[in-house]
């Protein structure tokens, strides 16, 4: 496989151009790496900015008008409002489950029905979140 790399200050945006006969495993991996780079999010922890993979995020929560990002064990903050995050991730595995929470269903272990019509979501890191009655239909739709 030939590799051609051009660097110049004239390029405002990095562009990856692949020429191939067919997309094999190797090419697919390159595509995944390139795509994966766009599926990251800038978050803050103790004032320090860092990029985390969106797929590693378990859920977003809004507390006192601040948005927090929950990964398996870490908690970060983000400048984005919950409605902006919802809009940004509407085509992904994230779904709004209450006024203050957006859940990644890829980290869901199971659900339990509650007596008041709400659902209890059990996450793979052991945490439990409540899915409000109002958001149960959209949650079911996302799963199917």
């Amino acid at each position: 496989m030939k590799l051609r790399l051009e660097t110049s200050l004239e390029y405002n945006e990095t562009e990856v151009y692949i020429q191939c006969q067919k997309v094999d495993n190797k090419i697919q991996k390159i595509i995944d790496i390139v795509n994966d780079d766009t599926k990251r999010m800038t978050v803050k922890k103790e004032g320090v900015s860092e990029m985390i993979k969106i797929q590693d995020i378990y859920y977003f929560e809004s507390v006192d008008e601040r948005s927090y990002v929950y990964a398996e064990t870490e908690v970060y903050s983000t400048e984005k409002k919950l409605y902006e995050i919802e809009e940004l991730l509407k085509e992904s595995s994230f779904v709004r489950i209450s006024k203050s929470c957006i859940l990644n269903i890829d980290h869901l272990d199971g659900v339990k029905m509650l007596r008041n019509g709400k659902l209890e979501a059990q996450l793979s890191n052991g945490e439990r979140l409540i899915i409000n009655r109002h958001y149960v239909p959209s949650f079911k739709q996302k799963l199917s």
């Binding site: 199971g110 509650l114 799963l143």
Partner: protein, 155 residues
């Protein structure tokens, strides 16, 4: 905390309104109001309203102080509290204060039997419905997890 308190208050306020409306509707349909109250329409309606209000109030207290909101977490204490939410206002207020029935005769058995029957039928119906939904959703979640794991292995 404040928002959740307010939401619960609204929820049980609506429950009170719905239950009072339904009871009035059922009694009107059965034509019980006309034969029973004869001239005491307002008093009778205020009595029904008081009982419905007490039931909603007790349900709110039970919900606040007795936790375990999943069907699997239901305890005998929870079931007893649920039954008391209705039994205390109906028997206490309806029987002792409003004289709807004689609490010291066999008449008291009727509201108790109806209460137990309705409670367990409704609970059974909701339990089955909840379990079916739970099984269906968990099946979808497991299928999704399986698919995700397969994709990861392929990579």
């Amino acid at each position: 905390m404040k928002r959740s308190f307010f939401k619960k208050l609204v929820y049980y306020g609506v429950s009170f309104c719905v239950s009072y409306t339904l009871v009035s509707l059922i009694l009107s349909l059965l034509n019980i109001n006309a034969s029973l109250v004869a001239g005491n329409f307002w008093i009778y309606n205020i009595e029904i309203m008081s009982v419905c209000f007490c039931i909603a109030l007790l349900m709110w207290l039970t919900d606040t102080f007795i936790k375990g909101s999943s069907y699997d977490d239901m305890t005998p204490l929870g079931i007893f509290a649920d039954l008391m939410d209705v039994a205390l206002p109906v028997i206490g207020l309806g029987g002792f204060v409003f004289d709807w029935f004689d609490v010291f005769s066999k008449e008291i058995l009727y509201p108790i039997i109806i209460l137990l029957f309705v409670y367990f039928v409704v609970l059974g119906f909701f339990y089955l419905n909840a379990k079916m939904t739970e099984i269906e959703l968990n099946k979808k979640i497991q299928e999704r997890k399986k698919k995700l794991n397969n994709n990861k292995q392929d990579d």
